[in-house]
Structure formats: structure tokens, C-alpha cells
Amino acid sequence: MQNEGLKNIWAKYQKEIADDHYYYLRSCIRQNFFPGAEYYFLKILREVLGKDVYDDPRHTTCTGIGYHSDIVPFETIQTVVAREFALMTAAGYRNVAVSCVTSFGIYSEILETWREFPKELQKARENLWKATKREFEIPENIAHASDIIYKFRHQIAEKAKYKLVNTNTGKPLQIVEHIGCHYAKMFPVKGIGGAEFPQVLSGMIAAWGGDVVDYPERRHCCGFGFRQYLVQQNRGYSLSNSKKKLESMQPYEPDAIICNCPGCTMFLDRWQYTLYEMEGKRYGQNNESIPVLAYEELAALVLGFEPWNVGLQMHEINTESLLDKMGIAYNPDEKYLDKNKQPIGSFNKTGCLSCC
């Protein structure tokens, strides 16, 4: 990899990201599977960076998963998005921070449609008014939550307690980044670094001391496929796409995978488990699996927040190998404790994957 070439591309795709005062829009998948990621995103913004973020209880799903699995019409999702904008407008905000790549793609597609076809915008305004008596302004700035972390990556680095460096060898950790198709493949100018060599995560990884692994299937989809995952019979599609990526990254022996999109984080985590159950195969160093983290979780770790508070116990693939390399202190006995330090249930390790 020649860095000059990358810099040349990155220079072309540096979009504007608001500096403060964000209206936060949550992600269905992220809050289900990685609730700590969203919690720590807000905490970092507010407490570490001193920013103002509004977390409005009244916003809802963007319905993006329904839209991309074709049970929600385009007109409906436009109106739902219009409602989110109306809430933002009413709260006195102009900048949106989106926690989900699918949503971010939806917002980009809809704004582009409204720009090209003002009649669609008109219709969305009318539908929203009819249904809710609300009105809205189009946000001045729409950022994916990772854009904001990217923007402040150097400030985070300055306050960091840990680096993406293997404390045993002193060498940078080898990190795979996965961006999520809807971040920039539809509209390359909306993503930091564009669609082919996105910088949004690699910028964070570099700022925090790690090395980015560029492997052949880097740009390939994780395989979510919406209906291809949602319908149980179709899941082979999803699995095989993740497998293709894992096989391609295996020779680089990555220390971790960092994801931009909540869905991808979940799939690259869960499918590693599934592939192990089905085929007995693992893709990381020493025949172990590769820890998969959301970038918010990574930021939280780097800043020194306690791993079990961040929510790493909700990952199927253990993350301890990464914590050990980074030199992060944690208490293994506290992994499965509740808020009052009491054990939460117990594990049933017998899945039924081979029979389903």
C-alpha cells in the first residue's frame, strides 16, 4: 500500500461534519445487540468531548430494515424520516447524528431524492402533516456517528489511556476495518474517504496507534442481505458472504475487526461462532476467533472505560485476547455480573446448529 495514493483519495472525500449540537438517532440493531456502544457514544461526546447531544425519547426506527426487505414503501419511509426531522426541528437542532449505517444510507437516498424530485419532498410534507400535524426543516448536517468520532479522533487519542499497540511486542495491532455497504457505496461523497478506500475507521485506527489491514475482500458485503438474513431459510447467503471475508482476512492474522455498521458488527461476530459450530473452523491467530468490535466500543476501550461496562460480554466472540494485548486491566469474574455484582443466569453451551 502506498500512502501517497491513499492520501490523494482521502483528500477528495472530506465532508463537513458538524462540530457540536447533535440530534441523535438510534439504531435498532445496535441498541439490541450492542447497547453499550450507543451508551458510550453519548458518554464520550458529552463527558469526554464536552458536546451537546439530544437523545429524544420520541424518535423511532427509520424503518430501514423494513424498507430494504420491501415491506415498507418508499413513500412511508420518507414520511417516517420526515417525522424524525420534524422532531429535530422542534427540539431546536440542525445537525443529525445517525447511529446506523442503514439509516445513514436511507437519509442520504431520501435527501438526494428530495433534491432531484421536489414533488417527493412535497408529498412527504403533506403525508407528515396529514398523519401528525408536524412540519420540518431539512437538517443542515447529517453525520454518521462514526464521522463524529473520526472528527474528534485526535482529541480522543490525546486523552487515551490505551493504544492499539500490542504491549507485549510494542508493535501496532493489526486491525481489519469493515465499513458497511450503505455508508458510501451509494453516494461516495457522503463518506469520509469515499467508497473504495474509506478513511472513517482507518483514520481512527491510525490515530489510536494501530495498523489497518487491507485484505482482498475488504470491500465485500458482510452478507446481511436484509431478507436474506431475516428469513431463516435464506441465511446461507448471509453466512457465505461473511465466510468469504473471513477466509480472505485470515492470512493477515488480524488482532480485531472494527465495524462501522451495527448489522455488520453482529454478523461478523455471530457467523464466526456459527462457522465454528458447523465446520470447526476459526479464522484468527492461534486457531482462535477474531474479536469484533463496534468503533464506539473501541473508542471507549482506548479511553480506559471498563470493558464489561462497555458491553463486551454481549459479543459471542470473546474479546479478552484484544484486551490482553492492549494491556487493559479487567476482572474476568465480573464479566457476567449484573449491576449489583450478582451473577446473571448461566450459559447453555449446546446450540443446535448442525441440525437446523
Binding site: Y39, G66, T76, G223, G225, V231, N234, R270, N348, K349
Partner: protein
């Protein structure tokens, strides 16, 4: 009655997504579905470009349009600025509006998605809620998820979430007035209409197949399409 070809052209997304196809294969080369299924976005572009009504209707009745995973990788590099992923979305829309989707195995699955994601949206205000990710149907989620699922309250509390409670925060309960706004949006913008159509055509198909005698007894059909 406008023809199907005309109906396609009425959707603004369609206009933006097919100009003319040079048959270069750039889309198929990297399509996430093309390697897994017998599917080629290049051929989809070819069929809609040709505009032959019969061929398009045959397409709308086939499994083919349901193979795409909507990753939109085919948009980035097309030398003619097409986007087959979006063409597919429009084809699927019309397939459902016309009832063609029940003619294919993959198309029939729309009922499952409507009943799952569709009702979750209107019930919880989210596309996904921990409640619907039942480990029984999600073995791939693994033992950790099973642990989360069985101990939802405590796990989410530990994660500082606000599961099913009023106020803000992850997985908060979406209040009734907000859910009502969401339902009203679905009502005025065609969302409910689409749900109803999916149900109606699925029932008709179920009746035709002898798997249901009234719309409230679709269990056999659901079982059938879940396993076919």
C-alpha cells in the same frame, strides 16, 4: 390501466436507476448475491431495459427478484450510472402490489417478513426488539445471545439500557402517542395498504393451495412457506 413497464417508470427511483446498460458485468462481478444464487444484476438491467411486458411479468413472478441482498454494491462503479439494487426494489414493490410475489417460493416469504418486522415496527417502534430474536429460530446467535435473551432485564440494565421503560435511552419503551403517529404515517403513506395486500394475496394463494380456509387460519401456510 398503465402497463407494468409504465408503472415501473412512474417510480422516481426507477428513473434514476436505469439509463442504459452496456452489459459490462461490473455489477455482477461484485454482487453479493451472484455468487450464492443463480442471479445476475446485469441480466436484470437487460430485461428491464428491453421493456418486454411479458418478460417483466415473468420476472415479477419468479424467485429471481428476491435473490438480491440490497447491498447496493452495484451502484458504486456502474459505468452507466445504473443501480440494479434499486431497480430490484421497484420490481419487488410492483410484484407485491400486483400479487405476483406469491407465485414464487422466495416471493412468498414476504408474508413472514411482514408479520415479523412489519408488526415489530408498529408494536415497538423499532424494526428489531430483543423479544423477537428468539434463540429457537436464531441458533446462529449463539449461547451468549441465549443468555442475554433469557436475562434481558438484568443484562440490559447492566448495559445502562432503558429496556421497555419510559424516557430516553437504548431500547426505551416508545410511548403510545408516538406509536400512534407511526401508525398514522403508515396509514396515509401506503404502508398499511401494502401490509394488507401482502396478507390478502398470501391468503388467496394459501386458499388456492388448500392450506387455509379463512384469513385468520394461516398457520399451515406460514409453516409451509417457512420450510419450502
Amino acid at each position: 390501466m398503465p402497463t407494468i413497464t409504465e408503472r415501473l417508470a412512474q417510480d422516481v427511483r426507477f428513473k434514476e436507476s436505469i439509463n442504459s446498460c452496456i452489459n459490462c458485468g461490473v455489477c455482477t462481478a461484485i454482487c453479493a448475491a451472484a455468487e450464492f444464487y443463480d442471479y445476475s444484476p446485469r441480466q436484470i438491467a437487460g430485461i428491464v431495459q428491453e421493456g418486454n411486458e411479458e418478460k417483466i411479468i415473468a420476472l415479477l413472478k419468479s424467485d429471481t427478484i428476491w435473490f438480491c441482498g440490497q447491498c447496493m454494491s452495484c451502484k458504486t462503479r456502474c459505468p452507466r450510472n445504473n443501480c440494479v439494487g434499486i431497480i430490484i426494489a421497484v420490481l419487488r414493490k410492483i410484484s407485491q402490489e400486483e400479487g405476483y410475489f406469491v407465485e414464487s417460493r422466495m416471493g412468498r416469504q414476504q408474508l413472514l417478513i411482514k408479520r415479523n418486522i412489519g408488526s415489530t415496527i408498529l408494536k415497538y417502534g423499532y424494526c428489531i426488539h430483543p423479544e423477537i430474536v428468539n434463540p429457537e429460530y436464531h441458533p446462529e446467535q449463539g449461547p451468549t445471545w441465549e443468555w442475554v435473551y433469557k436475562n434481558k432485564e438484568k443484562v440490559y440494565e447492566r448495559m445502562n439500557a432503558n429496556l421497555d421503560k419510559p424516557g430516553s435511552g437504548t431500547l426505551r419503551k416508545i410511548e403510545q402517542d408516538t406509536l400512534q403517529e407511526l401508525r398514522d404515517i403508515f396509514e396515509v403513506s401506503g404502508g398499511v395498504e401494502l401490509f394488507d395486500k401482502i396478507e390478502k394475496y398470501s391468503f388467496e394463494k394459501a386458499a388456492e393451495m388448500g392450506l387455509a380456509s379463512n384469513p385468520d387460519s394461516m398457520d399451515n401456510y406460514v409453516k409451509y412457506i417457512s420450510n419450502e
